[in-house]
Symmetry: C2
Subunit: 173 residues, 2 copies
């Protein structure tokens, strides 16, 4: 192998490993982040067995996390002619990745929060005491803000990348 090829392989390996460690911070498990990094930097779609071998993980682990990534929409199943096995390839477009992650985070983090805030804002609506009013007001303000943020996330996600950049640059640059 050439020096260049070795260098690339090593850089890629390190990237995959470090991206995996980062995943923990992001609240997604290490393996999932590693597989994502691996496929994002793979020149070709990969099979479950190749992923297992590259990351030295079990079949069950590889399988579960590949399917989870497919569910997120961060990777796709690719079928090749004359091949029974499934191949996986990552979405590589950064804006696409961003909107997918944003959508998923909204679903898992924002929406449940909103539901809780709404529930307790409602339940405390009629309480007359000073403390009751304060509680209600706090719930209401949080609900209003989170609802607003949620809507903004939708709007931004639905923009085309170029337009989002243009907009942001014009306004805040």
């Amino acid at each position: 192998m050439t020096t260049e090829a070795t260098k690339l392989k090593q850089a890629r390996d390190e990237f995959v490993s470090q991206w995996g460690a980062l995943g923990t911070q992001w609240g997604i498990n290490r393996t999932m982040a590693q597989i994502h990094a691996l496929l994002m930097t793979a020149p070709q779609p990969m099979t479950t067995d190749e992923v297992m071998e590259d990351l030295e993980i079990s079949r069950g682990n590889a399988h579960t996390n590949l399917k989870e990534l497919v569910a997120w929409g961060l990777i796709r199943v690719v079928v090749k002619k004359g091949e029974r096995r499934e191949f996986f390839e990552a979405e590589k477009d950064v804006w696409q990745i961003f909107t997918i992650v944003a959508r998923e985070r909204k679903r898992r983090e924002i929406e449940p929060a909103l539901a809780i805030l709404h529930k307790y804002a409602e339940e405390s609506r009629e309480i007359d005491s000073t403390e009751g009013k304060a509680f209600h007001e706090q719930m209401r303000q949080l609900e209003e803000f989170v609802g607003f943020a949620s809507k903004m996330a939708d709007r931004v996600s639905s923009l085309k990348y170029g337009f989002a950049v243009q907009l942001a640059t014009k306004l805040l640059g």
Copy 2:
């Protein structure tokens, strides 16, 4: 106790408990989220002992998470005249809470990611092979995007709430 007071107490307890469960999704531990919810809805600053009792947790746990919340800036230490104990009170302003959480997430999630992307974009800069160029390009695009997002987060966080709403509404409403 009046019916209203019972109702409020129950609503608040439930809110604290459910907010804690949500915390897990957000990548912060349950206790920390519970304490935050408790203090956000507390009519008065609370002591460590009161927090321990309310949530039925150990002194060590209460202490660690109170200090962590102080480090984030989501709660403050309050000293009362003639009292040796520390009291804690939460920041209740939603925009303040948002900017604090945004800053912390940026520090813990965005910046390390940016550092990694930058490192491997640099390391692969000179690799001439097709695969090397593709790897470099992927790193570069991710770095560019994450860097851009990071800057935007700063800009938005530094706005006054009213101005942020006005801006967002005008552009995307």
